[in-house]
Symmetry: C2
């Protein structure tokens, strides 16, 4: 966030936001004041194409969104100020580099400059979960929060921190890797190489893994039928569907997920004492079935003054990552 005094936000300029996920790539544009949204197209990331292939898809989608925005508004291309990119991390923001992403398989990749070269517009890079948190703080469920923790739970678990009203990056842009905090020091193996990370219990793939393990153990469940007998097709979404239909094993898997998330969130409450924790991403779509037992676990584990000070809410923006990517670009340019 810039220390420069904020100028009035122009409505006749727009910024493109890119939300690069392990599974999907979403691109949209917002007027700088946040009042108008354009595009918001989602396509598969296709990590299998490699970094070059993914960059090509990003650039094509940005061009499409710029064209659509111009068509919808009558603006010229010069009214597009640039591109904010949210990417899985860790990153080096200053150099615009992706240092490492387990879910895309990239190392030391100059994502910002590659996109910048492709679209001939200035670009900025920030962590995807930082962007999602900033999006919910700017226009979503965490609006008005002073100390905000955001968790984005999908293929992985990302985290973002807004402390004393500012996006907090830490000493080397790694801050907020909450998915890789240990909740069980001798626990499940994580994609990052460690054991017992929160992500190894409560990400989408981890939920599917835990359900599969319980099924292999022979517990009765409708889940095998829902995937036509092929447990390889089991996903968190299938677990949630089965739970909604009353499948006891699936319900227990969801409750366990809530307890694991509640443990991670309680740690954040005891360490950060935030006024808002906002959780978003596919895994949170279980709604109250997840949030109620999660809040109960947090109450069990966190100090009461921390619990009392904090609301734990689902994200409300379908495209928080894109919106936050726009906000990070605007902030780096001193526009907000």
């Amino acid at each position: 966030m810039s220390d420069a005094p904020a100028a009035p936000l122009p409505t006749d300029r727009f910024i493109v936001g890119v939300d690069l996920g392990g599974t999907n790539l979403v691109v949209g544009a917002l007027s700088v004041d946040g009042s108008r949204q354009f595009g918001m197209h989602s396509i598969p990331t296709r990590a299998d194409l490699g970094a070059d292939g993914v960059v090509e898809r990003i650039v094509q989608l940005i061009e499409r969104v710029i064209a659509e925005t111009m068509a919808a508004t009558g603006y010229s291309r010069t009214q597009c100020l640039g591109v904010g990119i949210g990417s899985p991390g860790p990153l080096d923001r200053e150099r615009g580099m992706v240092i490492f992403t387990p879910n895309l398989g990239w190392r030391d990749f100059p994502l910002r400059d590659r996109v910048q070269d492709g679209v001939k517009l200035p670009a900025s890079l920030d962590n995807d979960a930082n962007c999602a948190t900033l999006g919910e703080w700017w226009l979503g469920a965490a609006r008005g929060g002073r100390n905000v923790v955001g968790l984005t739970i999908g293929t992985g678990i990302g985290g973002g921190l807004i402390l004393d009203g500012r996006l907090y990056h830490g000493a080397s842009d790694v801050a907020g890797e909450i998915g890789h905090s240990t909740i069980d020091s001798i626990g499940r193996r994580c994609g990052c190489g460690n054991y017992g990370c929160l992500e190894a219990y409560a990400s989408g793939p981890a939920i599917a893994d835990r359900a599969r393990e319980a099924l292999v153990g022979g517990e009765p469940s409708t889940m095998p039928t829902l995937v036509g007998g092929d447990l390889g097709r089991l996903t968190a979404a299938v677990v949630y569907d089965a739970a909604k239909q009353g499948d006891r094993l699936a319900i227990e898997v969801v409750r366990e997920t809530a307890r694991f998330l509640g443990t991670g969130v309680a740690n954040l409450l005891n360490i950060f004492n935030p006024d808002v924790v906002v959780l978003a991403g596919g895994v949170t779509q279980a709604g109250d079935a997840l949030f109620e037992p999660m809040r109960a676990e947090v109450r069990r584990r966190a100090f009461k003054p921390a619990v009392d000070a904090c609301r734990i809410v689902p994200g409300i923006l379908p495209n928080a990552g894109v919106i936050g990517a726009v906000a990070t670009f605007a902030q780096r340019q001193g526009l907000m």
Copy 2:
């Protein structure tokens, strides 16, 4: 930290600092510029005397330190600006209340006002571990750090956070309760009522408990001899002595302690990305025997950019808590 411009720090004024621990109570005084120290007397806290009895001991020791400072300097009592108190938490800083301390057994106790009434000087209250962290940042091992995490490991495990150069308190003054972050969600029972808190593994009493459990299991060791056969007298200090003398079981207990602490510190690196982690308190007196395997565990568990950005160091101030309590008072008065 005050936003007001810092005035030149007077050398001819002094502030008394109180470091209230579960076991010992330490009181000293510093000139406001930090250049001179007086007193630094440590007496047993005597929590068994109840809150009133402990307050009486605090007030008596403050009076003694003020008298000694006046005698040593020729200053008058009016040159004593006030008293900074560091206390176990959680606290309500604004109201000067101790909300709850498991180790002293207090609830909703107006510590600041009781001390203020006793010595007839303005007082401020902050978390003991916040004070210790601020002390190491002001005059000790964390000097120059921008994002600092401090851990004080003794009877309990306290934590303090300095983020972007400011002591961070969170939404309701609970921030930094790192000892009560879960490292094993179905793990050891903690004094706070939860399971698997870092404190339940690596505080002084937890180290003694783990050693005792291993001994009851029948493992050969010199430790029973060191305590005259009475395992109730086993402390972390005894474990450390035995480890220094080459006792294999004691060495393993120290290594395990390092792994548990390393897990907690790795979580802090992945979440906060600090440039300094400073660890102090009795448990850290094992020195390299503890710090080397702890750093190794951190390297195993934390993201490399976070590891590379951070030095993990022992505290160097024998009375960081007192020094930091003075600093919190000075900051609240806008003096620094």
